[in-house]
Amino acid sequence: MTRGLGRGLPALLLQRLLQAGLVAWMVGTLTFVLTRTLPGDMAYRIAAGRYGHDMVDTAAAEAVRAELALNQPASSAYFGWLWDLLQFDLGRSLVSGEPVVRELWHQLGHSLGLAAVAVALSLLLGPPLGLAAGLRPRGMLDRLSEVVASVLRALPPFAVGLVLILVFAVGLGWLPAAGHGRTAHSVLPALTLALGLAAVSSRVARNAMADVSQSAYYAFSRTKGLSDRLTFMRHGLRNVAVPVVAYLGVQFVYLIEGVVVVETLFAWPGIGHALVHAIVARDVPMIQGTALIMGLLFVLLNTVVDIVCHLLDPRRRHA
């Protein structure tokens, strides 16, 4: 991806590690500063988060303020947090009192499971369609896939999810409408996410394939005597895989947004849903913990994407 500090894999890993440290610090500080500047009294917000909108009142807010020593000066709170972070202690959630790590483990686990299935499904749906369309640019399939991609990109995820529930859960009764527990629960939310991702990745694959199929080496491979199938397998796939895999790294930016909507619609106990509640309830340790883990995860995923690109494209090794 970026022109790394050094050459080859070790240099790239070092650079990613550095980036992880930078991200951890930036995310923590940014969320700390931002949550401090949020309007509204934190004690009241946390009380609302804890005791629900029926029971929140001044007495509850004062009790929370006393319990959590909220009027601690900002600087000492920040360095306290930083010191804990260095010892990998993310603290406890202000609302539920549970250690943030356990809450994250439960909710992030579900979100990651959902995202993994979604990405796998999108890889199954998007790129193959894109490759087929890219082989015959301006063909029937190409135009059709462009319109379908535009439709999917215009549809908000909850509309897609709603249609899927109506068809597969209420209509056909094959799959549970919402909730979690059995693996069957994860199919509809993952499919909703996958359709959104596939819409974009199919166009990226289509453009990559169109470029490759009109390149000089593709034509030479055919005039050398190789069959269409062999030319595609030996020269088409690898040259297309590089841009498609590279795009995967960027795709995760949009995945998080989709996850929040899908988790709310399908009542999936995920991290996006929890993050929204944490921000509304000003649960600072939870916000920082979530943002930190999501940031590091993103760096990890990008490192994986980098490694795969490295393996796929020998040019990078000597670049």
Binding site: T35, L38, V280
Partner: protein, 272 residues
């Protein structure tokens, strides 16, 4: 005649696809700005006795769950959402392009610093920034749309940096430098025409995803601000009535589809 062509925005000869895209976009804009002239219906005026009425002559697009004229609300929503989407695109494009050019042109340590900054920002969960901004400035849209843009600038940055780096070393720039032209001229004549199609493509996709991000936020009840009509939030308001009045919820979605399709056609290839 050549002097008439706007120097900055060079509109290359439009292909048939792009003309169709332009036509669709123009029809949306005409609809949005013409409706207030044609019908004096106030987007916020409610009639609780006539809710979710089917489209009729009196009410061309029917009424929503509060009996408000969907025609007026849709037009107001397009005006607001498009305006906000443009704002979001600009707040993403301007810094992204500028830093991309600086990094691509100067290269060296500056390029590496900006590069790692961009990677770090990409790792920031964009959703978090948007939610925090929504909490900081509750109820006004610009904070949300700027928040949405905070993540998008990186795509502009990477694209522009790659293109600028390739061009900076090319003979055409060296020739112009030898002929005594300054950096501004080099940008206007050599860099911008090369970057314009890709940057406009990204802008097109950025605008559409900004509106969808607004709908996503509305879905988790962030950024609600009655009675303003906003494309993303209209979808949320009409979502509960998907069975009773599917045509009501379909309208903002169709408008967004036409917007995305027209931007796709106008933008040509997705440069990502």
């Amino acid at each position: 005649m050549t002097t008439l062509v706007a120097p900055l925005l060079t509109l290359p000869r439009l292909s048939a696809r792009q003309r169709l895209g332009g036509l669709l976009l123009a029809s949306l804009l005409v609809f949005a700005w013409l409706v207030p002239w044609l019908s004096d219906a106030d987007p916020a005026r409610q009639q609780l006795t006539r809710i979710l009425q089917l489209p009729s002559l009196a009410e061309p697009l029917g009424t929503d769950h509060l009996g408000r004229s969907l025609l007026a609300r849709l037009a107001a929503a397009i005006r607001l959402s498009l305006g906000m989407a443009m704002l979001s695109v600009l707040t993403a494009a301007v810094p992204g392009v500028l830093m991309g050019i600086i990094a691509g042109w100067r290269g060296g340590w500056l390029d590496r610093v900006l590069g790692s900054l961009a990677d770090a920002c990409l790792a920031l969960p964009g959703l978090l920034l948007v939610l925090l901004l929504a909490a900081i400035a509750p109820g006004n849209f610009w904070a949300l749309y700027v928040g949405i843009a905070l993540v998008l600038w990186i795509e502009y940055f990477r694209l522009v940096r790659a293109r600028t780096r390739a061009l900076a070393a090319s003979p055409q720039l060296e020739a112009s430098r030898l002929l005594g032209f300054g950096p501004l001229y080099l940008f206007r004549r050599h860099l911008w025409p090369e970057l314009a199609p890709q940057v406009l493509t990204l802008a097109a996709f950025g605008a559409a995803s900004a509106i969808l991000a607004m709908a996503a936020l509305g879905f988790v009840s962030v950024g609600l601000r009655p009675p303003t009509a906003e494309l993303g939030l209209m979808m949320i308001e009409l979502l509960p009535y998907y069975h009773e009045a599917p045509w009501a919820m379909a309208q903002p979605i169709v408008v967004l589809f036409v917007l995305v399709l027209s931007l796709n056609l106008l933008a040509g290839r997705d440069p990502r």
